[in-house]
């Protein structure tokens, strides 16, 4: 089974041709990054998969279903750049939100939230308010919330974009571990070349106006190779992946 299947997806916003002829397949458990300059439509593509936008043309299948069906069935979890936690809920209650919306019983979702907070290393903060947490911790809560219904697919729109570099690297390691432990496929939108390279099985490079996929590059962990992420950061494969992505982006810009 595939987590996402896109065929000839097209999207226009009035005069702007946001996406043109997008073909992309994401296998179950695969980690795919979308990278490209601002306005290349990478966020729009993610939003189409999440059923927050409608594709103008082409086929979109999420877990083999229409995006709308997949959204209702909670086949995906989503995290944005802003953690977007609800201030009036405790950390645990924020994680429980997707489960509560779908009518899971209180005791059951309590237990699930505790499990997830354990997973992201925030068990001690279950009763805290989001405002008491640092930016990185808030983003971890947002990821735990996205993972709560055990989705097959995790959609992430620059989730670490607002974090400092150190926190960001820690969060990357954390995310890889979570993806592996939960077996969820990840579609990860980012601006950062090293981030795309270190995390992904495949890096999808896009160009703007119209938004197109110009190249798909193997990341430095093809086949989901397991290893210490800090070792990966110093490996030749990592630098090769960075170089390949950078050159591809340059080519896409037509210089």
């Amino acid at each position: 089974m595939t987590a996402v299947e896109l065929e000839d997806v097209d999207k226009r916003f009035g005069e702007v041709h946001a996406l043109d002829g997008i073909d992309l397949t994401i296998a179950d458990g695969e980690f795919v990054s979308l990278i490209g300059p601002s306005g290349c439509g990478k966020s729009t593509l993610l939003r189409i998969i999440a059923d927050l936008e409608q594709a103008g043309g082409g086929t979109v299948l999420v877990a083999g279903k229409s995006p709308q069906r997949a959204r209702v069935d909670q086949e995906y979890g989503i995290a944005f750049q802003a953690a977007g936690l609800l201030e009036w809920r405790t950390v645990a209650e924020n994680v429980e939100l997707p489960l509560q919306v779908h009518g899971m019983g209180k005791a059951q979702r309590r237990a699930r939230a505790a499990e997830l907070l354990e997973l992201v290393g925030l068990a001690d903060f279950a009763a805290s308010r989001p405002g008491q947490l640092s930016g990185g911790m808030q983003q971890r809560v947002a990821i735990a919330r996205a993972l709560a219904p055990s989705p097959r697919l995790l959609l992430m729109d620059e989730p670490f974009g607002a974090l400092d570099e150190m926190t960001r690297e820690r969060m990357q390691a954390e995310l890889l571990r979570l993806a592996r432990e939960t077996g969820a496929a990840v579609l990860f939108v980012t601006h950062s070349i090293p981030e795309a390279a270190v995390l992904s099985d495949r890096v999808v490079v896009m160009s703007p106006r119209p938004g197109r996929i110009t190249e798909v590059i193997g990341g430095c962990r093809p086949g989901g190779a397991v290893g210490d992420i800090d070792d990966v950061r110093e490996s030749t494969a990592f630098f090769e992946a960075i170089t390949a992505v950078r050159e591809s982006l340059r080519k896409a810009h037509g210089s």
Binding site: Q74, I78, W88
Partner: protein
């Protein structure tokens, strides 16, 4: 708790300052006020115009009219204030509930919002003095199951009419306050309109609604007092102020006692809303 007792202290201090200013004005300014070329710049400060604070307080404990069997001014003011408070709170509840309902409908249907909001705003520019006789006139024709319209019901309707506006506007602002990202999160969770309302929009509207209800409470009190006067309703503090004011040349402290009662009434109404604020504490914070 510390900040709460502190704000109480500040309020008491502000009241004392007011008393001191009042007495200072009496002490320093000439009793006949200041007039320049026939235009009065400062009011008279003599005992007939500005009685001493203690005279006003003393008047609370003395009978309304000379002679045995008359109730004290304090008792009259207290019973009037209680009567008006009841009408104002009734008006606040009616106005608040209809304000919340209208805001919900406006938030749900954009068309209704565009159609109704200008009229909601316009409704408040109609002077209360013009509305009061209308309500009393219409109400006088209503007989429901043997119950004839009473003039206190007109007062309550007018108080509700004033309380309605801040609640409707504040609630609408609150309901539309969640960020786009939060709304999209709920959409991504496949939450319906009611779930989004219950879990996102209502909690997010609390910081907007509590100040609005506080305004509405003050408006309801003022509305009730003015409405009592213009509909000629007996038993409330509004009527009391008028009848004491008519006797003010001979007995000014009596009128001030009634005005003091009206001010305390406003404070009690505000404190009632304060209780609401305490109950909803967990939802505050993002605004105010």
């Amino acid at each position: 708790m510390v900040s709460r007792s502190r704000s109480l202290l500040t309020a008491v201090a502000a009241f004392l300052l007011l008393v001191v200013l009042w007495e200072l004005a009496k002490l320093v300014l000439p009793a006949d006020g200041v007039t320049v070329g026939g235009t009065r710049l400062l009011p008279r400060t003599g005992d007939a115009a500005m009685p001493h604070v203690w005279t006003v307080l003393e008047r609370l404990g003395t009978p309304e009219v000379a002679g045995a069997g008359s109730r004290t001014v304090g008792a009259a003011v207290a019973s009037g204030a209680l009567f008006t408070l009841g009408l104002a709170l009734g008006g606040l509840v009616i106005g608040g509930v209809s304000g919340v309902l209208l805001a919900l409908i406006m938030a749900r249907f954009g068309l209704v919002q565009r159609a109704a909001l200008p009229y909601v705003v316009a409704s408040q520019t109609v002077p209360l003095i013009a509305v009061a006789p209308l309500v009393a006139g219409w109400g006088g024709k209503i007989h429901i199951l043997g119950w004839a319209w009473q003039s206190w019901a007109s007062v309550m309707v007018i108080a509700a009419y004033l309380a309605f506006f801040p609640v409707a506007v504040g609630m609408l602002r609150g309901l539309t306050s969640p960020a786009k990202a939060d709304v999209e999160l709920f959409r991504a969770l496949a939450a319906g309109w009611w779930t989004t309302l219950l879990r996102l929009r209502l909690p997010a509207s609390v910081p907007h609604v509590v100040p609005a209800v506080r305004l509405a409470a003050a408006a309801a009190v003022v509305g009730a007092i003015v409405a009592e006067i213009s509909t000629g309703t007996r038993g409330g503090i509004g009527r009391l102020i008028i009848s004491y004011a008519q006797a003010a040349t001979g007995d000014p402290s009596q009128m001030y006692a009634a005005i003091l009662g009206a001010a305390v009434l406003g404070l009690v109404a505000a404190a009632a809303v304060g209780l609401l604020d305490v109950g909803l504490k967990r939802y505050r914070g993002s605004v105010s």
